[in-house]
């Protein structure tokens, strides 16, 4: 009698994550097409329209890359925190608190040099993101409280605070029915590079390399990996695992906070609920799909940015924006399924 058994492969192809992503993306496009067909829409027309409106011109390409900035930065933050084998589900809240911190500093300080002013505000965003993850970090490190749930709950808390601020103390009387804080002055707008492409994208490139260096080349990155591994190894190596975890969480939160700062200074120009449209959640997909690799996060983040822009413009022909979300989530599910075949081998064995 023949029987099938599962074997773990001795070596896993180095590019397996990439191939899994590629096949996963194709699977997701097929799923997306099926949904479109059910809704009586032509998938080829819809997808080519999405493609044209997201990367077809300098303007649309720069919009797509602008959209990618928060996905990439928050994704990088998640990947840094994952170095110590912890999860950050709170990037959404960190983006909001980053923007809130920027507005707080903007209201309460005066600077004569605009470049320096912008630099201070970007730093404020980073600190805001770190502050947002402070409670989950402390409760994780000191008491061992599950960080997945605490970081997630902070999203709801920060969102509530945002709603409170823009309806209360920060409410701009000129914004009428749409609650929002007052606009920041034009002197602190982030400049554009080419077309509509924000200067924030250059910051994004810089931070991609920073994250890559931090994770893969630096001593701290090595210590983070040890700290995230077995507790005994960390003790033998003389590494304070809790300290590394704490610092990693603050840095990771800061990355997402910076995304909020850039979003405010280059896109919305004021605090409103539009600071993030679920970027913190999409960033989780981006980070997970690349196996937490900073350079991969940069590429997939850019692709997903284009997908989101494509998804929002096809609303005009009556297709739901959620199709982009579904394609993104399905890509990861598809990639997970394909990854199985790279790590395991099904062999036929003869039973006796």
């Amino acid at each position: 009698m023949n029987n099938f058994k599962l074997f773990k492969r001795q070596t896993v192809n180095e590019l397996s994550t990439f191939y899994s992503f590629l096949i996963g993306f194709i699977i997701a496009i097929i799923i997306g097409s099926i949904i479109l067909l059910i809704q009586d829409k032509n998938p080829i027309d819809t997808f080519s329209l999405m493609l044209r409106l997201s990367v077809g011109s300098v303007n649309s390409l720069s919009s797509s890359l602008n959209k990618a900035i928060p996905l990439i930065l928050a994704g990088l933050g998640i990947s840094i925190i994952n170095s110590v084998k912890l999860w950050n589900i709170g990037a959404e809240g960190q983006i909001f608190l980053g923007a809130i911190a920027v507005n707080f500093i903007y209201i309460n300080t005066q600077f004569n040099n605009p470049s320096f002013h912008i630099l201070v505000l970007l730093l404020a965003g980073f600190v805001g993101g770190s502050v947002c993850i402070l409670i989950p970090a402390i409760t994780k490190v000191v008491f061992g409280v599950n960080e997945i749930i605490t970081t997630l709950l902070t999203n709801y808390i920060v969102f509530g605070v945002t709603i409170f601020l823009i309806n209360g103390p920060w409410k701009d009387p000129k914004s009428l029915n749409f609650p929002a804080a007052a606009y920041v002055g034009e002197e602190v707008f982030l400049p554009t590079v080419i077309g509509k492409l924000s200067f924030g994208f250059l910051i994004c490139i810089l931070f991609t390399f920073v994250a890559h260096y931090l994770k893969n080349k630096s001593v701290f990155g090595f210590e983070m990996r040890i700290a995230g591994g077995s507790a005994m190894t960390a003790i033998y190596a003389g590494i304070n695992a809790k300290q590394k975890a704490f610092i990693a969480m603050l840095i990771g939160g800061g990355f997402a906070g910076l995304a909020g700062a850039i979003e405010l200074l280059s896109q919305t120009h004021r605090v409103s609920t539009g600071i993030s449209q679920g970027f913190g959640y999409t960033a989780i997909i981006v980070a997970a799909i690349t196996g937490m690799r900073p350079l991969g996060i940069f590429l997939v983040g850019s692709l997903f940015g284009a997908l989101s822009i494509g998804g929002s413009v096809i609303q005009t022909i009556g297709v739901s924006t959620y199709i982009a979300d579904i394609i993104q989530a399905s890509t990861l599910f598809g990639a997970l399924i394909i990854q199985f075949f790279f790590t395991y081998q099904i062999k036929r064995v003869e039973n006796d």
């Binding site: 058994k5 599962l6 074997f7 773990k8 949904i35 999860w87 589900i89 409670i135 409760t139 008491f143 061992g144 409280v145 599950n146 997945i148 749930i149 605490t150 997630l152 709950l153 902070t154 709801y156 808390i157 509530g160 605070v161 709603i163 409170f164 309806n167 209360g168 959640y281 999409t282 989780i284 997909i285 997970a288 739901s320 959620y322 199709i323 979300d325 579904i326 993104q328 989530a329 399905s330 990861l332 599910f333 997970l336 399924i337 990854q339 199985f340 395991y344 064995v349």
Partner: protein, 307 residues
Amino acid sequence: MIDIQLIGLLNATLQAATLLFIAALGELITEKSGILNLGVEGMISVGAVTGFMTAINTENIFLAVLVGVLSSSIFASIHALVTVVLKQDQTVSGLILTILGLALSSLLGKNYVGRKLVTKLESVSSITEPSNIIEVLISQNIIFYLAVVLMISTSFVLKRTMFGRRLEAVGEDSKSSDSMGLKVAKTQFIATCVGGAFAGLSGVYLTLSYVPYWTDNMTSGRGWIALALVIFGGWKPYRTALGALLFGFLEALVPRLQTYGFELSPYIVKITPYVITILVLVILTIYKGGKTGAPRNIGVPFFRENR
């Protein structure tokens, strides 16, 4: 005489607790088998929208509940396929299940936003204005009593039946269970789908009685609170129910604070349940000193080494 406001508070507490408890109980069963499913929020949402759509289209409440429960269960089987059969990371898969579930239900429910139900899940007795505690208890929605039955039977099944003992064995030590001849994958697959079904029931209760209408992201974090409840309850059905009552009480109390004379911004009041959830988790973790009662193999994919 009992204050009429107090009666209202008790009533609202029981309703909010029911919603949280059913989802939490389902997750408890899934986690007992060693599978962590962070997709509760998405599963509730899928159950909520499919149940609501069925109720609008067929006006058959029984069918609506059935469809909601089944579709959530099928949806949960994606997680079972990815984590149990294909042994991929449970955290990633569960998170994506939430994202996918919310997006999918928004897509499905697009044309149902704001529609009114003809038939709803009704309360079992004819008392509409309960005036004392007994009347509150006997005038609850049918799902409330179903939740009580589920609590008792889940506890019984887990402790006293072969299936329950197997489930626990698999969750505690899948390797030994496997060498004892237990079917690890099958048990975990079933437990994940049962968890999905419970989340679906919680979802249909949300749209067919608790709210009752459909709008995007209406689960508003309840799935995550359900996950916290499992930890709170130490993976025990009765204690989880106690936790659900506590959180249900908070959810019911918060909008009533102003009537009791507390001057608070409604926006700040809205975030208190989330703050309190974190506080409770911290206190609980300190109090138990790390012995949380979690199944030992939770989150660890089972793989039989072949030579």
